[in-house]
Symmetry: C2
Amino acid sequence: MHRFQRTLAGLDGRIDTPAPVVVVDALQRNIDRMQGFADAHGVALRPHVKTHKSVEIGRRQLAAGAVGITAGNVGEAEVFAAAGFTDVFIAYPVWPSGTKAARLRSLARRIRLRVGVDDPAAVAALADAMGDEPERLEVVVEIDCGGRRSGTSPDLAGELAREARARGLLPVGVFTYPGHGGSAVEARERAARDQHDALETAVRSLEAAGLAPHVVSAGSTPTAAYSTGGVVTEIRPGEYVFGDLDNTRLGACAEEDVALFVASTVVSRQVPRQAILDVGTKALGREGNPQKGYGAVAGGDAVLTRLNEYHGFLAVEGEAPAVGTVLPLVPNHVCPVVASFEELVATDADGSTIERWPVDARGRLS
Amino acid sequence: MHRFQRTLAGLDGRIDTPAPVVVVDALQRNIDRMQGFADAHGVALRPHVKTHKSVEIGRRQLAAGAVGITAGNVGEAEVFAAAGFTDVFIAYPVWPSGTKAARLRSLARRIRLRVGVDDPAAVAALADAMGDEPERLEVVVEIDCGGRRSGTSPDLAGELAREARARGLLPVGVFTYPGHGGSAVEARERAARDQHDALETAVRSLEAAGLAPHVVSAGSTPTAAYSTGGVVTEIRPGEYVFGDLDNTRLGACAEEDVALFVASTVVSRQVPRQAILDVGTKALGREGNPQKGYGAVAGGDAVLTRLNEYHGFLAVEGEAPAVGTVLPLVPNHVCPVVASFEELVATDADGSTIERWPVDARGRLS
């Protein structure tokens, strides 16, 4: 019996499905392990809250030793600031459109706020947004280390930082995201080397501009293991708190460390060798492909081969489980699962206790 | 200039991005057009609220003449019942796991509630869930017309309905979903013919069982045009209220009838022939593929070729628009967009007025 079957047995009859279930002991071990890794390598941990969007989990990360949090947008930062978090890095090239200028100014007055920047026009817009208090906003220059997404060239980082300082903003360092690693270990190691090289170049560029970068920020869950050392001062993994099938496939988490599953009920079994589960794209997102499937029953070989909005097509060997059977489904990618629900069911390995943790920052996308 | 550019110009500075923007005139025309179609063909319209999850839009559908609404799960039904909707069909093989038995009973006491059923075990479970008031729950037998998802064989519909009646439930008819049509018009017409054949067989099966089916429910937005006539008494389209690129490609909506776009800001332009928009999978879901892309700028050829969670990769000819440029993005599939946000920005074609409509039923997945 898979450990999640035991958890589900304990929860029997007390939760409606579909529901994202967090096994708190496993979650806490993941939090402590990543903190221990960061401590052992002398880098700060600034976890990305995009994965959990949960004040409760963010507090556990801080309690374990995280220096602050990383957010993906202003709305997430606001939710955590309102909950008492005082150090937030929006690792994104924020553009103050709409009412974001006022929102950024208000946030920067209350907490230590850092935002990413990769364009001179954004430097000017952020400085304008801050009115007569530009020095309250810390900016971190985003550099590209090979992902070809956002981020300026590493050797231009100093120039952009100097422009920021000239406009009164507070340039504090550089960051990057080695998203070009792909799935092979060698490719991720190579991407992490690219990351180190790019960050070193960027640090020299800032120093040449007369600036002392005290933030040199790297990494993600799949590359965290390769992201310490050299000039790096902090890492920003997110998905490590829960893990998922994609991270397991990458070797970035062990199967036994996965801390979240989706409790799913068999609702139909009319087609041979197929069970329909009450999890579709509304619960899982369309994360996967026909080859690897869209999620799998924990500890078994049964895979979702297709998703409709409210229906998951589970391929089964032999006879399908009876309708009403509740199964623990492990998603390919955990982030969209959390963002789909209003709350997480938090329990212990035996499913004996139940707490409900709101997904506080869900839907806060701007 | 595309009409959505005009809307955006009117909204300038008053909304943060990303934001789902509904042009209310276009929405209302879509509501009225589908109602007119149903009226002209003598079928009832019971729109699926999965697309909008919005009490405001549901009310507009009822005001136009819809007989009630279709929901995808108990949580959606509860939200609309709490808002005063009195006739809800959960077109899904509901299994009363967890606290759903009590929730179903409570709902069925307050409104006319219909649920789908395709399995004798579910009939028994639903009857048990209803305690001493099984007759308050209307059941509609789901039949399979070729989609091979859920639904019993049409010629077994009568047997299942008889079991429901024997358990005291109130069998009222049959429904199906012709999801096997694919994208070609001929294929969808064939699927709609399959639907008619299957529904006729099911109606005969119910009549042979001594039951008079007064609900014979069909259709979806892409098949609505082919779903009237014969035994059909109602249709259940959902996506027609907004439309999207997928429905435009299918010919199920005209480009000028699309009523929702996502206001998106260019946040980075560091890579030649590429702009990064602030819309990723968190806002759009991962709906698309590398061939057709993941969404497109309205009225132009620029397509999102790739999505990260907070980043959309827009391929552009020549120079990328400046950072800060706001673009109207039309999604491939509108449903996950709505479910990603807390509220819709409702405006007129000129972007002069702004209302905020909550996505009332979002996150209510069980």
